[in-house]
């Protein structure tokens, strides 16, 4: 009969099954395989810069009583700061960060102290190297000056502390960005 002989519209069974197996196995292979990637996203690059900035503050903020180093402890700089940006004391800190290569060459930074001067919270730029770009990172470290540190420190802290007689807590903010 003509109807039985008509081969149009039929699946070629073997080819169809083989093709679907190939497709399925490729899909399965892709889904099962792991790949190792090195993300070059902004996030990964910022993470590295943040780690460097944070390390810099950690390394600077060490205890002078049990270690000696070519770099002065952060507390000494903070206690010696006289309240004005860009003074000699901070040039030393500047040198510690840049000349001792704490931060990579192509990185620029600002340093800010945030402290309470009995009336309000003050934010003072101590080292200024320019306006941070959009992708800058901020590392912070808290430094506490007790009576002993203040008495051997600058007149600036003595004036602030004269009426309060309590430890001064200063937030040191290091802002870094790629040039």
């Amino acid at each position: 009969m003509r109807l039985q002989d008509d081969s149009r519209g039929q699946i070629y069974t073997i080819e169809g099954i083989v093709a679907s197996f190939i497709l399925l196995s490729v899909l399965l292979f892709i889904l099962q395989s792991n790949s190792i990637i090195v993300p070059q996203t902004e996030r990964a690059i910022d993470m590295k810069l943040y780690e460097k900035a944070s390390d810099t503050l950690v390394v600077l903020d060490r205890n002078d009583n049990d270690s000696w180093s070519t770099i002065q402890p952060l507390k000494t700089y903070v206690a010696g700061w006289n309240g004005a940006p860009g003074e000699a004391m901070m040039t030393c800190l500047d040198n510690n960060i840049s000349e001792k290569k704490m931060l990579p060459d192509q990185v620029e930074y600002n340093l800010i102290f945030v402290y309470n001067n009995s009336t309000a919270l003050n934010s003072s730029t101590v080292i200024y190297h320019g306006i941070p770009t959009d992708n800058s990172v901020v590392a912070t470290r808290l430094v506490t000056l007790n009576d002993n540190d203040i008495s051997t420190g600058s007149s600036f802290w003595k004036t602030i502390n004269a009426t309060r007689h309590q430890p001064e807590t200063i937030e040191v903010k290091l802002i870094c960005w790629y040039l």
């Binding site: 889904l31 190792i36 090195v38 780690e51 390390d55 704490m102």
Partner: protein
């Protein structure tokens, strides 16, 4: 014939089929695009090398490591290499980013045998379900001296490498720090250090006295068993020697400038034991010129190991640790 070829409709896509596929594809693309998370469970897992690099750097820089065998355990794995369970280079938990020179030296020693690389890698936590490779470099800032024997580590074999840099301090060991510029009273040409009540057996390494913030000439280093009669039997170069700004000085006398740092190193072989097992050379006198030293009056001496005014301090220099991580396990 040309007309036969034009009329032949075998091998042509059916218009109905084309339309059907187009509708299906449009719907499919719409579904994939506008329903977020639909295919998330079926996405291939990507292993992020930067988190592996960060994790390894954190273990090395912020952790002192661990050795363990049952109830015997501790962080000084460099003295118990056989029981090593985790490699960390920090001095202790309280001082992250301060690396111990003795741990770095020990790491170099282990890696001197190239077959030990896999042991080191495994103890950094880099051999779990995936096998990574690693190389570490620690360079002193300024001088650029490399502390790690980089040839012991494998060369990276792929371009898929992640690196991370950490700023650290390298702890070179404890020294008695004499800052001679602090005190302008009681100045003179002598400075006395004592080792009273120190057992002879406890002196196992060099004793180092670091002198800075002064100027003049150091002439001699003498010792005494009673604090009164000082004798000069110590030979320069074997019993004691100087490092000036980190460099060995070939002569026993030299002049210091105010910005020089002098390290007086006394070798353990210079000390003798008395009948009670204590150090016989109880008093050490450093003699210089003019008013080089503060606290310079005869009879006043400062204990090397536990003086309050001149305590032993860890000598730290800034350095940069660089770590590279890659993996061949899933490459290609």
């Amino acid at each position: 014939m040309a007309s036969k070829a034009l009329m032949d409709d075998s091998g042509q896509i059916n218009l109905d089929f084309l339309f059907g596929v187009a509708v299906f594809l449009l719907t499919f693309i719409y579904a994939v695009t506008f329903i977020p998370g639909l295919f998330t469970p079926y996405q291939p897992g990507a292993i992020d090398l930067s988190s592996v690099a960060y994790r390894t750097s954190a273990i090395l820089v912020e952790d002192p490591g661990w050795y363990s065998q049952g109830s015997v355990n501790g962080t000084d794995w460099e003295d118990n290499i056989g029981l090593l369970s985790r490699i960390g280079l920090a001095d202790d938990k309280e001082h992250p980013n301060v690396l111990s020179q003795s741990k770095i030296d020990c790491l170099n020693e282990i890696l001197a045998n190239s077959s030990n690389y896999t042991i080191v890698r495994d103890h950094m936590g880099l051999h779990g379900s995936i096998e990574y490779d690693v190389s570490v470099s620690i360079k002193m800032n300024g001088t650029g001296t490399e502390l790690v024997n980089t040839s012991s580590w494998p060369m990276r074999s792929t371009t898929n490498v992640e690196s991370i840099e950490r700023s650290v301090l390298v702890d070179k060991g404890k020294e008695m720090c004499l800052d001679m510029g602090n005190d302008q009273v009681n100045r003179g040409s002598l400075f006395n250090v004592n080792l009273t009540n120190i057992t002879y057996s406890s002196i196992t390494g060099n004793l180092t006295i670091r002198i800075f913030n002064t100027s003049g000439t150091i002439n001699n280093v003498l010792w005494s068993s009673n604090g009164a009669n000082y004798i000069s039997t110590w030979i320069y170069g074997t019993d004691y020697f100087y490092y000036v700004n980190g460099v060995y000085y070939p002569s026993s006398t030299f002049s210091i400038n105010s910005n020089d740092i002098v390290e007086l190193v006394i070798a353990p072989s210079a000390f003798y034991s008395d009948v009670n097992g204590l150090v016989l050379n109880k008093y050490i006198e450093i003699s210089g010129t003019g008013s080089m030293f503060q606290d310079s009056s005869t009879g006043v001496s400062f204990n090397y190991f536990h003086d309050k005014k001149y305590p032993l301090k860890s000598i730290c220099y800034p350095a940069t640790m660089r770590l590279e991580v890659w993996s061949d396990a899933l490459a290609g």
